[in-house]
Amino acid sequence: MYKTRFTASLAALSASALLLAACAGSAEEGSSSTGSEGAADGAPQELNALVWCDHTDPALLEPFEEANNVTVNVRDYEGTGVALGILEQSQPGDWDVFVIDSVDVPRVAEAGLLAPLNKDDFDFDQFFEQVRLPEIHEIEGTLYAVPEKFGYNTVAFNGANVDAEAMRDLSFLWDPALAGKIAIYDYYIPVMEFVGLELGIEPQNITLADLPAIEARLGELKEQSVLLGDVVSTQTALATGEVDVIVGGGEFSTSVLNAENPELDWILPEQGGIRWQQAVGVVASSEKQDLATKFVQHIVSPEGQAALATSSCFWGMPANKNATLTDDQKALLRWDEQAAFIANSYPYYIPDAELDEAMLDVWTRVVAG
């Protein structure tokens, strides 16, 4: 009896397995056939991009996808370290396009992760001169990434509750009048560099010896604050009135909220701010170099730049000065003040490994209280 039932079960199991194997086999054959003929019969190709979240906006991707019959798969990340971890765990050919902080381009290119680009594929005359930075986007004259977007880690605030003129002095952040009204953007590098500016230390000059002073000043700022959070958390706190100031915020914090509350604004203090800048390149191991390069060209085209600058995730200045933005959008980005802002800001400076670790230790000590 048992034997019969067991045999029947085994037979059914075997039959199911065979059926599944047969289905899988035919599906595999089907996909293989479709795949091999895909290019010929117009089936869409796929492009995989490792990006910041502003590149996930359909307004940026869809025009390229439709024009080139391609599906762009995006995975967003925060922090170059994470992106490098993802690349390290991937197989060659998994990724085609890489959006990266400009300051990280040299080390990533030197690690062999970025493919050389042809300078003639890009019209650099259309770019803001100050953000071209060939010294970091090129190595020995070879282009590895194209600048695409920039902005500032500075101060965002609610003009209805905070005096905009007072905010021009960075030291005002430590004023008791702002106690309990501050949120701190939780990216330790730009925020600590910003605090360093208040102490008169330019980002590229920060050393291990400066960290005790920065830690003490950061600790005082933490006492003033009610929360430390990412872009969304700090934005939410500003939008709901929980705080009036975001330290480390900027146009990326307030521009998407401006339509709902025009009082939400940002400013570059007299002491300056930290300028972040992104670049886009092609992954060296990509098997679709031409298509990936075409995508990079789309990103830095006037239309692509307008979509990227006003992305639903966060706004920022386009690197291409011909970006097809409206006057209202330009006003929100403070387009006309960019020359002065660039002159009074410091490129986001990535410390070496030892200083980076020491800075994170300082940050965690301050957060831990």
Binding site: L10, G79, R107, S225, L227, G229, A237, T364, A368, G369
Partner: protein
């Protein structure tokens, strides 16, 4: 045992075994190996070492984060149990049987809402411009809004709300296992209602309390979302520190070591409470 029976056992257990090996054991081995690597600059040094564990044992900031986590979780377990027990008791012994399923359904109702949405809801309730502060200010009870959001209080409150239903269900299950004749028997022997509760009902319901407390502990100790959204990231808990290593520095080895420390803590708590981790009726 003949070979057919042995075969049959393997066939029946095989799929579950494969899933466990593939989706739990193998990733766990990877995490253990990764925790023995070191991040150096932008790359990972794959030479095996105990550096990450030495750092965890010696770094005062990590100790503080762990202590913060344990304090928050202990408060959550305590408040959840204190609220859940009377609630479960009332449902089990003071509500007619036909209404009990409805009350249990209401108990789990908050589970039907997304965890993130619930966290943001608490943020809006506790915010300076939130329902509580606005009401108290308008009624003249408060001159200024209280700082409730983005605090440890907010984290513990949200955790308690999320997990009180877990304890309620486990305690209820335990209470329902108690033979109904034990209480009257104790009363016949001269015990007061309080004595019946303290010497009969409470001891027999301890397994439900322990199971609920353990589940609450496991769910809360590794939670990143609630302290981040409701607590405002103001207090460094171990999951916060772990995510910081991954998201900002890509230090996967140190993060893996921290994750394993969390796992060991859960295992220790399990070992300490394993005697009572059952909802079956005690013999």
């Amino acid at each position: 045992m003949n070979s057919h029976v042995r075969w049959r056992g393997w066939v029946l257990v095989g799929p579950a075994l494969l899933v466990t090996l593939g989706l739990f054991a193998a990733p766990m081995v990877l995490v253990i190996i990764t925790s023995l690597y070191r991040r150096e600059g932008a790359s990972i040094n794959r030479a095996l070492s105990l550096d990450n564990y030495v750092r965890i044992l010696t770094d005062a900031t990590i100790h503080q984060a762990l202590l913060n986590s344990l304090e928050v979780v202990a408060l959550t377990v305590a408040f959840s149990t204190l609220i859940a027990y009377p609630f479960a008791y009332i449902i089990a012994f003071r509500v007619a049987s036909k209404w009990q399923p409805l009350l249990l359904l209401l108990t789990v109702l908050p589970f039907w809402t997304s965890y993130v949405v619930r966290s943001y809801s608490w943020l809006l309730v506790l915010a300076k411009n939130g329902v509580i502060n606005q009401t108290l200010v308008e009624w003249g009870v408060l001159a200024e809004p209280l700082a409730m959001a983005n605090t440890r209080f907010a984290t513990v409150l949200a955790f308690t709300h999320f997990f009180v239903m877990v304890s309620t269900l486990t305690i209820y299950a335990s209470l329902r296992q108690i033979p109904t004749n034990l209480g009257p028997a104790a009363r016949d022997l001269g015990a007061s209602p309080l004595q019946v509760f303290l010497r009969v009902t409470l001891p027999l319901s301890i397994p439900g309390v322990v199971v609920g407390a353990f589940l609450t502990f496991v769910l809360a100790i590794g939670d990143y979302i609630t302290p981040q959204i409701v607590g405002g990231g103001n207090e460094l808990l171990l999951p916060q520190l772990l995510i910081l290593q991954v998201s900002r520095r890509g230090d996967f080895p140190l993060a893996a070591a921290m994750a394993l420390v969390l796992l060991v803590i859960v295992a220790l708590v399990y070992a300490a409470s394993s005697k009572n981790l059952t909802l079956e009726r005690r013999k």
